[in-house]
């Protein structure tokens, strides 16, 4: 609804929007500032914090003391592993639903969505028990599978909506030219669907990176990703503002950047096409 507006109105809009935007963003900005201060300076009143000297010290300490990069590595493995595994399983399914829709395609899609609505806490003990019995507790492979399963409906759903936008005639033409199903998917569909697949990967990496129910309940030390590592700072004796800030900044920065690129896909992926 872009309309010509008076400069005064535009200035007013700009002022209000920037003010609110900065207030909302402020907590993130503030831990960014604190992460560059010494522990002693980080607990001073805000103005004194700003005046205190800047230092990289906290970033070094976080790594030395707590093996930060091991947890970072776990987060990377869990987020990308679960997304890629999900993609391998979801691409054929989404392809079939988009290009060979049957009577029950819609029902299957809806049913897949409904599995996403199952409250995690309702199945906590069975999963926990299975993890113990299978020796998967505190293992990366177990969590990769769980994170893949909780995001699979979203992956299938997003891919389905992207695939549906690809005109079926192109695929038919490829088939007429004698392309096999495998060739059709690999050489015709995939290049066209690449942007959609990239968005799907992006959103699901973000969701898996930030997942904080299963990662907290199914890991201890070995497989703990950043969500669990940061939660370990919650004990009262661990009140180190500067180090906590540094650890937090490193944990959220990569995802914040990816998130900014995936704004539009977020709506598509999280509302299941209910809002366009």
């Amino acid at each position: 609804m872009a309309r010509a507006v008076t400069p005064r109105r535009k200035a007013l809009n700009t002022f209000a929007a920037w003010l609110i935007g900065l207030i909302i963003f402020f907590p993130i900005l503030w831990i960014f500032v604190l992460s560059f201060k010494t522990e002693g300076n980080a607990i001073l009143p805000p103005l004194d914090v700003l005046r205190a000297p800047w230092t990289f010290e906290s970033y070094g300490i976080v790594q030395d003391r707590s093996d930060y990069f091991k947890h970072f590595g776990n987060s990377v493995i869990l987020a990308f592993g679960s997304t890629l595994l999900g993609l391998i399983i979801a691409v054929p399914a989404a392809w079939a639903m988009a290009f060979v829709p049957g009577k029950r395609t819609k029902d299957i899609l809806m049913w897949m969505l409904s599995t996403k609505m199952l409250p995690a806490v309702g199945v906590l003990y069975p999963i926990y028990l299975m993890f113990i019995k299978l020796g998967l507790l505190d293992s990366r492979i177990g969590l990769v599978i769980v994170l893949m399963l909780i995001n699979l409906p979203i992956i299938v759903w997003m891919l389905y909506t992207y695939f549906r936008e690809i005109p079926g005639e192109i695929l038919e033409a490829a088939r007429m030219d004698g392309a096999t199903l495998r060739e059709e998917i690999l050489y015709v569909l995939t290049p066209m669907a690449l942007p959609g697949m990239a968005s799907t990967v992006l959103l699901n990496v973000i969701l898996a990176w930030n997942e904080a129910f299963w990662t907290l309940n199914l890991t201890a030390a070995k497989a703990a990703p950043l969500t669990a590592f940061i939660a370990s700072y919650s004990s009262p004796e661990g009140l180190f503002y500067a180090k906590l800030s540094a650890a937090s900044v490193m944990a959220i920065a990569p995802i914040l950047i990816m998130g900014w690129f995936s704004q539009k896909q977020l709506v598509r992926g999280l509302t299941f096409g209910a809002v366009k």
Binding site: M1, R9, K10, N13, T14, A17, I20, G21, P27, I28, I43, P45, P46, I89, P92, A93, A96, M97, F99, V100, K106, I108, L109, M110, S114, T115, M117, L118, P119, V121, V123, Y125, P126, Y128, L129, M130, L181, W209, A212, F213, N217, L226, T227, A228, I230, Y233, S234, L239, Y241, S248, I252, I255, G259, W260, L266, L270, G273, A274, V275, K276
Partner: protein
């Protein structure tokens, strides 16, 4: 012939996804259901497992922590929904206006959504709401007031603020998407006919956003019913912040009363399904068009 062939191929291609999700849903679900009818205390091998019928279901709802947990859940979910929907509409309408640097403002506004829940919780708990060194405490002291113990004295309100900060971007983004399809000509016509801003908002914008608002409410409700990390990190269920999800978690993993916790889990599943049915209807309708 070709269709027949591609149909069976399609079925084969859907099989892994469908089978996995079916297993992921049915196996744990039937185990929860099974446990919920049994006395099952894994930490107490001296107490035998046995069938107890609906005992666990009755005990879960008659325990003294049940109603407070429902109350805490409703207050948190309701509070967060109210804040995110009202502010989300306001922000979406503001951000759809002409301004300088709209892209950057959008980025600032949606950023909290990408912060992992444990960071969000710790950041608010320590750097902002801590009664000694927190940002708010410093501000209050600077103007001569006594610092407030946010999380222990105004527990639910503090949690609502934390979770609303996290979810406001989601509401804003979806509502912003919906405002983009607003009919500018219709709005202009109404403006020229002398309709004041309030009636333009009430009779044109709000009806247009109605469906997006419903979707925001439904999706957020499903996610908010399950908030866990925010409570684990801030209060661990103390000071009246024990929601239904957290209560079940404590029963199942902390006190390892699996039978009782599983009955609670079944209640949570039923509750989530009631919300889900409405959401699915909207999604389903949209799938046809």
């Amino acid at each position: 012939m070709a269709t027949q062939h591609s149909r069976s191929a399609a079925r084969l291609m859907m099989a892994p996804a469908v089978t996995l999700l079916l297993g992921w849903m049915l196996i744990p679900l039937s185990m929860t259901l099974f446990f919920s009818f049994r006395k099952y205390l894994p930490m107490r091998p001296d107490i035998a497992q046995e069938w107890v019928g609906f005992d666990n279901y009755v005990r879960f709802v008659t325990s003294s922590s049940f109603w407070p947990s429902i109350q805490a859940t409703l207050i948190i979910v309701g509070g967060v929904l109210a804040i995110t929907v009202v502010l989300g509409i306001a922000l979406a309408l503001l951000l759809s206006q002409e301004m300088w640097g709209r892209g950057i403002v959008r980025v600032l506004v949606i950023a909290p959504f990408f912060v992992m829940p444990t960071v969000t919780a710790l950041l608010w708990k320590n750097m902002f709401m801590d009664p000694v060194n927190g940002f708010f405490a410093h501000i209050l002291k600077a103007v001569g007031l006594t610092p407030i113990e946010f999380l222990s004295q105004h527990t639910l309100l503090s949690l609502i603020v934390i979770v609303a900060w996290q979810w406001l971007p989601f509401a804003t983004l979806i509502l912003l998407t919906a405002t983009q399809s607003l009919d500018a000509e219709q709005l202009e016509a109404a403006e020229m006919d002398g309709a004041p801003w309030v009636s333009r908002f009430l009779w044109i914008m709000l009806p247009h956003l109605a469906r997006a608002i419903t979707v925001v409410i439904l999706i957020q409700t499903i996610f908010l019913l399950g908030i866990f990390a925010e409570i684990l990190v801030t209060t661990q269920g103390a000071f009246g912040s024990r929601t239904l999800t957290y209560l079940i978690y404590q029963r199942v993993l902390e006190s390892q009363n699996v039978g009782l916790g599983s009955a609670g889990g079944v209640y949570a599943i039923i509750l989530a399904n009631i919300v889900a049915i409405f959401l699915m209807r909207i999604v389903g309708k949209n799938l046809d068009t």
